[in-house]
Amino acid sequence: MHGPIKKINTKLLNMSDRSIVWAFTLPTLILLVFINIYPLIWTIYLSFTDFKANRPGRVIHWVGMKWYEKALTNGDVWGYMQTTAHFVVWTILIQAALGFGLSLLLNRKFKGNEVLTTIVILPMMLSPAVVGVFWKYIYQPQAGIFDYIINVFHHFGSFSMLSNVSLAPWSIIVVDTWMWTPFIMLLCLAGLRSIPGYIYEAAEVDGASKWQQFIHITFPSVLPFLMLAVLFRGIENFKMFDMVNELTGGGPGSITEVASIYLKRAAFEKWRTGDSSAFAVILFVCVLGAGMIYVKILNKLKET
């Protein structure tokens, strides 16, 4: 190496701990502030005004808590929250049970399980929007394969998952489960493989039954991983937009109109910017609050 370059290199290599902390964290924090915090603050500001994004030149008036009062007293808004909660709770429950079960099976280390793991995770590599549009085709009563297969097992005749009021909420749960169960499985598998073998050996020596080993060793070790997976899926599904937008677009009527679909309709179709901003802030506060409690519990679990 030549003189000056070497000088710079040694200078860089001898960075103090303090400057390393700054240099390493600052880019991330700056990006997060610009792309995440700034829009959030702006949205909070807009939620107190009568700004309309399609009329940027207009004078902006301060309207106080008007949009919040409207959102919290409006029955429709509660309906969207309930639709979202139904979607989040059922997808999480089904996926957690299935994903954990699959990880236990894949951890049996049978021949070829690594190849099978890769095949199992295939659906989660697809684009949710593309998955949504494609399941619309799969669900089609005339040409889709879903009706056809269901009818092989039990003859219901022609039915439409997407236009039936009681089936439509389940149509999005089926697709989300199909797509994201592998994600929970993957994190649980990581948890299972992090359990050192000697713990089971010791339990075996102590005469613990397989069931006792599962309750006292396997489950507690996997729980933090399972909870982390549930946290990520919960956050994602709370703001679920792409798959549902392409699959049902919120329909029939507004049966599958989850929070983000309502936001899009209010913000980009009706151009009620203040209104939709207030709803977004309420939504954010709900998820943030739930997330905080959840992470506290998670950290307590990790300590024990």
Binding site: L13, N14, T28, R108, E114, L126, V133, A190, L263, A267
Partner: protein, 318 residues
Amino acid sequence: MSTTYDTSRSPLEPSRNSKRVAAFLIILYIIITSIPILFIASTAFKTDEDAMSYPPKILFEPSLEGFVNLVTRRSRQSKDFLKSLPPPKTWYEKIVRERQMVIVGPSRFLGRFGNSLIIGFGATFFSIFFGTLAAYAFSRFKIPLKDDLLFFILSTRMFPPVAAAIPIFLMYRYLGLNDTHLGMIILYTTVNLSLSVWLLKGFIDEIPKEYEEAALVDGYSRLHTFIKIILPQAATGIAATAIFCLIFSWNEYAFAVLLTFRQAQTLPPFIPTIIGEGGLDWPAVAAGTLIFIVPVIIFTILLRKHLVRGITFGAVRK
């Protein structure tokens, strides 16, 4: 203690029967969940009529019409006009001609595909780069309010993109970043950072501190130990995280549909808009989907070893 079980294997090793049952159940799960994927793949090679027939056709004459429709724009012509043309020179012209149409030009598909490659891989690179640095700092140094900062990083994921899109649109318009590759790369990098910092911190936490301490005693600088010890040790975790980041930025839809229009539009908002003469052109949509997932699958297969080792990383520490 008298051993009642087969001594030829360790007590930890599952019995042969339980392995068989496990393998059977996993294969059953794969068969059920792969039906939609196989259905997509087969539709890509169907004609429009075959794609819309009921019961769904399992055996059919394969056709490349979907792929041709995907990458071309066509226009319907009168029979007389078609007769006046010289015979079709290429196989794809022939397919189009049979539908009483001529090719007018290429569709936007390839351009959108290029955008997806630039934005998807660009954002993955930067979120891994910045994410590794931040994760290392959070893992190894005393940072005031560390837990709060980490939760703050996670909380940036909780704001719905549909709501964030309006302020970002207004900000990007001011900065001239709307509908640009750079703007989308910055956006996706940031959205991914929360995931990459959290995952990578987990992986780096698992690397024993003793390795570094030994190196520091030997006179290595901090940065040197980061490059020489942490990076190689964390390679598997980095690869696994890269797969997750690519999957997100490759497939992102909400921001793409709201913030890009012509120049920087990626494939997820484009594929659902491929329309034929009677609504969506299903074979072309399927063909587009099939081409679209190829890069992610290649990337995952290339890093597959790391993915499997990456998720078993925790086992290394003991």
